[in-house]
Amino acid sequence: MTTSTGAAPSPGRKLNRIGLDVSQYRGGKTTLCAGCGHNAISERIIEACFDLGVDAKKVLKLSGIGCSSKSPAYFLSQSHGFNSVHGRMPSVATGALLANKTMAAIGISGDGDTGAIGIGQFVHLMRRNLPMVYIIEDNGCYGLTKGQFSPTADVGSTLKNGVVNDLPPIDTCIMAIELGATFVARSFSGDKKQLSALLKAAMSHKGTAMLDVLSPCVTFNDHEGSTKSYSYVKDHEEPLADLSFVPYFEDIAIEHEEGTTREVVLHDGSTIVLRKLDHDYDPTNKAEALRVVRETAGRGEYATGLLFIDQHKRDFCTTLNLVDEPLAALPVERTRPSRAVLELLMDHQR
């Protein structure tokens, strides 16, 4: 693994475990609206990568089309990025990770990019359990085309001009759980602590980590009557647990009273610590997860936090039994069969 970086870290700044300061995880200057939830998510991604000591050279950033999908340009400028076509990022990510399974991938999509044009590819990405982090920056509307409803908009939610949404929303988390995703979370761009912990946990998970992050559109969907406005989400967020993340490389003893926390140990040895709030929520129980998310939504609330996790299911690269080295890097000696093989094949046809 290479750890080459751009500029040397400026003196006096906090360095992470691979000796980089946070500026080395930044990207280009955002062109999204001031106050856009997506920018907050980019910030959390930058922090998470810094805190985990991620090697940016080992990260692929992918996106579809829309406001959300512009954001990979605004973090990790030292990582290769691919702003693909509308709704089709999952397939590009699939090909990319099959070509090099040693890379980590962060995919950024939107609620239209995933829930409408891209629902087919989303479904099959979840089924395959491709090892990547898939983030939906969910604001319930199409920002880049000036505010039309998206499929995650709630019944009765209104547009700025008063138009009422009369179709039921697609709950991407319920879909992801049903379809076989192995890490499903919902969070809020304004919930710094929870989102940060979830992102680090997602990056440490081996399998598809799907995060639906409610991310208010300050320009087109932040008004009274919208169920995706900043104030609505802030008031209706219902965390299932108080969540923290302990990376494998930090030797921290977790102190807690008996029966007040759950711990979920991830593939790399990192731990998610869930401190009980009102109820004892078990994110490894699929049926329970589906019930809780549905019930909460029925009350007009958003259950947030780690909704479901399965650390044991095989990821797609394992299912395909790929060699350890990246397929893209295999030398011709390993990919072109010998003269004898061709002769044998010709003999079969005689």
Partner: protein
């Protein structure tokens, strides 16, 4: 011929018999297990050293609809579909009467006795065979009879056409080597058919086979299988596909090959990934994702899949990402005729996607080219950093063809301009879309290397790969892409040109049309004394050879298997009007593979030489040397 039922005739020696120049059509119901029986026929003729070809005309259905299999044996080596059927095997009650009515006078008909066809035509030779009775005798288990019934007609034809029984037994053994029980039953059925014909008909057919020596060392293979071997040898590592007729057998063959030959011996792990995607959009998306990271990746599809791949293909063109895409062309707009053949995707593929786009296409004609162009496609795609299409068709992909065996690739892989440390030092600075070499091809970097990262996007970008909506940035980029397409002209396979010194007429064709052209040129010469030159296109964009060929001739006929003269339309985009004025079209779009007779008649009609079928010249056909393909 006046004979109506040879069974009623006394045995007599056959005189004036036509040897090694006939076509057999087997009409069955699909799902009735005739495939093995037909393969045995082809293989036996092949083993006798006689040039042979097979065309499967099948419905888009699993069982119950009519299907026809045409086998052509031809001593001159003509392997295109022959329009006229010389010998019919009528096994399908539903089509038998119509099948008989369409035969030329003098043809022979083997039929299932209850069909009672012999009264239909006085000018044919009829050979009724009681299939049910014969099969019951050799196969006591009624449930298995379906699987051996058709082998009986192999035995009957063995006798009537002198296709050696020993070769049939050899072919059957090869085909059923791993199914001992089926082999025993089929051997008995073969013998039963032969014995019945010998005892009943006595007289042989007016067409017959005689041993030749043209097929030694050759192979029999389907184009999709040949292309799969090409992909294997090209070192493909990521394959994504969605099932579609007539393309599926390419990726299915490839799966078999990869599982056999691309498992790492030390670890037992795969040096490849093959994904059956959720649709063609996802399939090509995966190919683009994998190629972006540096893998050799491919997909295979047919027309409807090509339509779906449009948007991603435009991305590949504009963001400059390699992709290898096979189009096994079938008939029609929309669903069309999924199991029939055409060359109808040329124009839509060359210009696939919105905006200004152009894509290189390779145009294989033979098994050898299905194999070699698969490798060429990967090299070109990585060299040019753009999607490259291999335009096969159902006739090439799914039918059996003779071929010389494939040579082992001696050239190293061309992985194109991938930036490394030494190149970066030489260039001094790097910009993803900078034309530093003047060929329009920029240098790319790959993830997981020490080289600088960049942001790949289908939105407007400048030479440094940064987002840009500036008109001058866009235009500069588009102009460079046009230069890159001109570079493609110098890299794609050149056409095969056969200039006949005094010929005023030129023929241009590509793909499977080639085989009907070989025969058509001989017919034009023999029947009307019309000498023709010939240029076979192997790729788009065109090379300079095309203009030079048109310049040499008064009139040039472009023969293609679509309604709208799509290849001519592509020529029109870049040839000057003087040259285009010389170009005429011969078009064939019935869904059946094009035949020589259709070409010959069309050219003679357009040339005003209406006395088309003038007496054949005594001389042997000049192009007949092309026995068995290349």
């Amino acid at each position: 011929m006046a004979t109506t039922d040879p069974a009623l005739q006394p045995t007599a020696p056959t005189t004036g018999r036509t040897i090694n120049e006939f076509s057999i059509q087997v009409a069955t119901v699909n799902g009735s297990g005739s495939q093995t029986a037909n393969l045995i026929l082809i293989r036996s003729l092949f083993q006798m050293g006689i040039p042979v070809s097979g065309k499967n005309l099948f419905p888009s259905n699993i069982a119950g609809l009519p299907t026809w299999y045409t086998i052509r044996a031809n001593k001159h080596g003509y392997v295109a579909r022959k329009k006229e059927i010389d010998f019919l095997v009528a096994m399908n009650a539903e089509t038998a009467r119509e099948d008989v009515q369409t035969l030329e006078p003098g043809a022979g008909v083997v039929y299932d006795e209850p069909l009672n066809l012999k009264a239909l035509r006085p000018d044919l030779s009829f050979y009724p065979v009681p299939f049910d009775k014969l099969v019951a005798a050799v196969c006591p288990d009624a449930k298995l009879r379906r699987l051996v019934r058709n082998t009986i007609y192999d035995g009957v034809l063995s006798y009537l056409l002198d296709i050696e029984l020993g070769e049939m037994e050899k072919a059957l053994t090869k085909q059923l080597a791993k199914k001992q029980k089926a082999l025993v039953l089929n051997m008995a059925a073969l013998k039963a058919g032969f014995d019945y014909a010998e005892a009943t008909f006595g007289q042989k057919a007016s067409f017959g086979a005689e041993r030749m020596n043209t097929t030694a060392g050759k192979i029999l293979i389907e184009g999709n299988q040949a292309a799969a071997i090409g992909c294997l040898m090209a070192g493909v590592t990521v394959v994504a596909w969605y099932p579609i007729t007539p393309s599926s057998s390419l990726c299915e063959s490839l799966i078999d090959l990869m599982r056999k030959y691309r498992i790492d011996k030390a670890t037992g792990k795969a040096t490849f990934a093959i994904v059956q995607a959720e649709d063609e959009i996802a399939a090509v998306g995966m190919v683009i994702g994998a190629s972006w990271v540096g893998a050799r990746a491919m997909t295979s599809t047919s027309g409807p899949g090509i339509s779906l791949m449009g948007e991603f293909t435009g991305l590949g063109y504009y963001a400059e990402v390699p992709a290898v895409i096979f189009d096994i062309q079938r008939v029609g707009p929309s669903t069309g005729l999924p199991t029939r053949t055409a060359q109808g995707d040329l124009l839509s593929t060359a210009l696939l996607s919105h905006g200004d786009t152009r894509h290189p296409m390779l145009l294989p004609s033979s098994m050898r080219e299905c194999y070699s162009m698969a490798m060429d496609a990967f090299d070109l795609s990585e060299r040019l950093q753009t999607p490259v299409f291999v335009m096969s068709d159902l006739d090439l992909g799914m039918n059996i063809w003779m071929s010389e065996p494939f040579p082992y690739p001696e050239q190293p892989l061309d992985r194109g301009k991938v930036l490394d440390k030494a190149t970066l030092e030489r260039l001094g600075a790097w910009g993803r879309y900078k034309d530093v070499d003047g060929d329009g091809i920029p240098w790319r970097t790959l993830p997981d290397t020490d080289m600088p990262a960049y942001f790949t996007r289908g939105s407007g970008h400048n030479e440094m790969g940064q987002y840009s909506e500036r008109g001058d940035d866009y235009q500069r980029n588009l102009d460079r892409l046009a230069r890159k397409f001109d570079t493609a002209r110098t890299l794609v396979p050149k056409p095969e040109v056969d200039v006949v010194a005094d010929a005023r007429i030129g023929l241009i064709a590509f793909g499977t049309t080639h085989w009907a052209i070989v025969e058509g040129r001989d017919q034009l010469w023999q029947e009307a004394g019309l000498a023709t030159s010939y240029l076979r296109l192997k790729a788009y964009p065109f090379t300079d050879d095309l203009a030079a060929f048109i310049d040499r001739h008064d009139r040039v006929y472009v023969v293609e298997q679509n309604r709208d003269a799509q290849m001519v339309a592509l020529m029109r985009m870049e040839l000057d009007p003087v040259r285009i004025a010389k170009v005429r079209s011969v078009l064939h779009y019935s869904g059946l593979p094009i035949d020589a007779r259709s070409i010959t008649d069309a050219v003679l009609a357009q040339e005003g030489l209406a006395v088309a079928r003038a007496a054949a010249r005594a001389a042997d056909a000049p192009n007949a040397a092309g026995v068995g393909g290349e």
